[in-house]
């Protein structure tokens, strides 16, 4: 409610500002112009949004598999964790944007380099938060499981994994956000379709209102995916429902 009101206020101020100061429309278009572009370019926008969505979804899925897989393997084997953790951190230290053109060179103008770039950005928060979540198990419960002589995998399935799920979802939400920017940057560096590609094309043609329309669509896509993940989270973590409802109510 409050968020919607704020957005409305911002739009009105923006529109009024543009009417008042009349900047060249290739620098700052009015919201009404953006809306018009959104409508007139709808076919192109939607087709390209579809491509970007596909990249994002593929990236999130891959990140989930790779990220959770790595985190579980690291938790299961401290030796593997000791070996893998430095490399994981290193993977975030080199300038990914700089190697992206090489990815394009290797993989061509396909979905692959964009998905790969998005995965490179988004799997890291997932690994870190899943790994930490798996380590943060109630100490009393662990003692109890130890007294039963529970095997490693059984304890993992019955205790550690459910305990880590909240952290997994935190990582997943970060991964969604990072995948959006990863996919767009990937498209920037070499693509023939997608919202990132479209933004670049429109801006080279000085079509500012169309650029804004594409950005708007991208933001809507990201917010939508994020909200969807939140909904899935609330469904899966039903036993935290009461606490979460209260948090949700405060936000609204």
């Amino acid at each position: 409610m409050r968020g919607g009101f704020l957005a409305l206020l911002l739009l009105v101020a923006w529109q009024a500002g543009v009417e008042l100061f009349r900047p060249p429309s290739f620098i700052l278009p009015a919201p009404s112009q953006v809306a018009a572009a959104l409508w007139s370019e709808r076919a192109t926008l939607l087709a390209n949004a579809g491509v970007t969505l596909e990249e994002i979804l593929l990236a999130v899925a891959l990140s989930a598999v790779v990220g959770v897989g790595l985190a579980v393997a690291m938790r299961m084997s401290p030796r593997f964790a000791g070996g893998a953790y430095p490399w994981l951190v290193a993977s975030q230290m080199f300038p990914t944007v700089a190697i992206a053109p090489i990815l394009v060179l290797w993989l061509g103008y396909t979905l692959a380099p964009k998905v790969l770039l998005a995965v490179l950005w988004s799997f890291f928060p997932l690994v870190v938060s899943t790994y930490d979540g798996l380590g943060r198990v109630d100490a009393d419960a662990e003692e109890l499981f130890a007294s039963w002589g529970a095997g490693r995998w059984r304890r993992f399935r019955a205790l550690e994994w459910p305990s880590a799920l909240p952290a997994v979802f935190s990582g997943l939400k970060l991964a969604v956000a990072f995948s959006v920017s990863g996919a767009v940057v990937g498209e920037w560096l070499g693509a023939q379709a997608g919202l990132g590609y479209l933004i670049q094309r429109y801006s080279s043609q000085l079509q500012a209102s169309a650029v804004f329309a594409a950005v708007f669509l991208l933001a809507a896509l990201g917010i939508g995916l994020f909200a969807l993940t939140g909904r899935v989270e609330r469904r899966v973590l039903w036993w935290l429902r009461t606490a979460q409802d209260e948090i949700g109510r405060e936000e609204a």
Partner: protein, 267 residues
């Protein structure tokens, strides 16, 4: 203390020393907390023994050592003639009931109760049978109709009874119970006390019960072990022949009562 032969005792501590390491709290250097110092005692098979002592005296520590959760720094512990703890596939010798219930919030009461057997790798057939047995026990534990409820839907006392049921379902012959009746009303408490006394007779189980309640100890146990000082070097044994005398003696050992001018054996 006498070094009795291993057979015949369900639990034996032999010169056990136990120490808690300090937590590396930020900016502080903690010191080690010695809890047990060369403590020896034994719990006879088939007996019902109560462990009584003030808060923080080391009762839970003794139970955790017996359950194989904590390792002693020195000394030997034997549960039914073998080291404490269980390896996967080997039947549980001791069922431990922690002071905090630790029920898993994403499992129903019955699913929680079956967790020890499940973690132990019983086959589906055995688990189905165990489930039937657990369902039969629900009314006894005052949990009728609650089998499919989740822990969040249970009251504090119900949770405690669910944890008790889980302990019994685990199937160990030695029950290590850490204040199992703490959060219960007098009526339910009495009911479960009676049931526990019956269970022990029918299963020929050995019970080591930690309690704050001297009356409960004297009512249920054949023998009361009193923790009088920490670090614990010895446990005072008070056999229960008649309840009043035993209660008085336990209170005396705890320093809660002037020494009665009565002749009580021991010390």
């Amino acid at each position: 203390m006498s070094r009795g032969r291993a057979e015949g005792s369900a639990l034996r501590f032999d010169a056990v020393t136990a120490v808690y390491r300090p937590l590396p709290a930020a900016g502080r250097r903690g010191t080690e907390v010695p809890v047990l110092e060369e403590l020896s005692f034994a719990v006879q098979e088939g007996s019902f023994t109560a462990l009584v002592g003030p808060s923080g005296s080391g009762k839970s520590t003794i139970l955790k050592l017996a359950a194989g959760i904590l390792r002693p720094r020195a000394g030997r512990i034997e549960v039914c003639g073998a080291p404490p703890g269980t390896r996967p596939g080997e039947p549980l010798r001791a069922s431990y009931m922690p002071q905090r219930d630790s029920l898993l919030p994403w499992r129903t009461l019955l699913e929680n109760a079956l967790l020890p057997l499940e973690m132990h790798g019983r086959e589906a057939q055995a688990l189905r049978e165990a489930r039937r047995r657990a369902e039969e026990l629900l009314p006894v534990f005052g949990l009728e109709g609650k089998g499919d409820a989740y822990p969040a839907q249970l009251s504090g006392g119900e949770r405690q009874r669910a944890a008790f049921l889980r302990t019994v379902m685990a199937g160990g012959r030695l029950l290590l119970l850490d204040e199992p009746f703490g959060a219960l009303d007098a009526l339910t408490r009495r009911q479960l006390q009676l049931w526990l006394a019956g269970l022990r007779r029918s299963l020929e189980a050995t019970v080591l019960l930690v309690t704050h309640d001297v009356q409960e100890a004297a009512l249920l146990a054949d023998e009361v072990l009193v923790v009088a000082a920490t670090p614990v070097r010895a446990l005072e044994r008070v056999p229960v022949r008649d309840r009043a005398t035993a209660e008085r003696r336990v209170l005396e050992l705890l320093g809660l009562r002037e020494a009665a001018p009565l002749e009580v054996g021991g010390a």
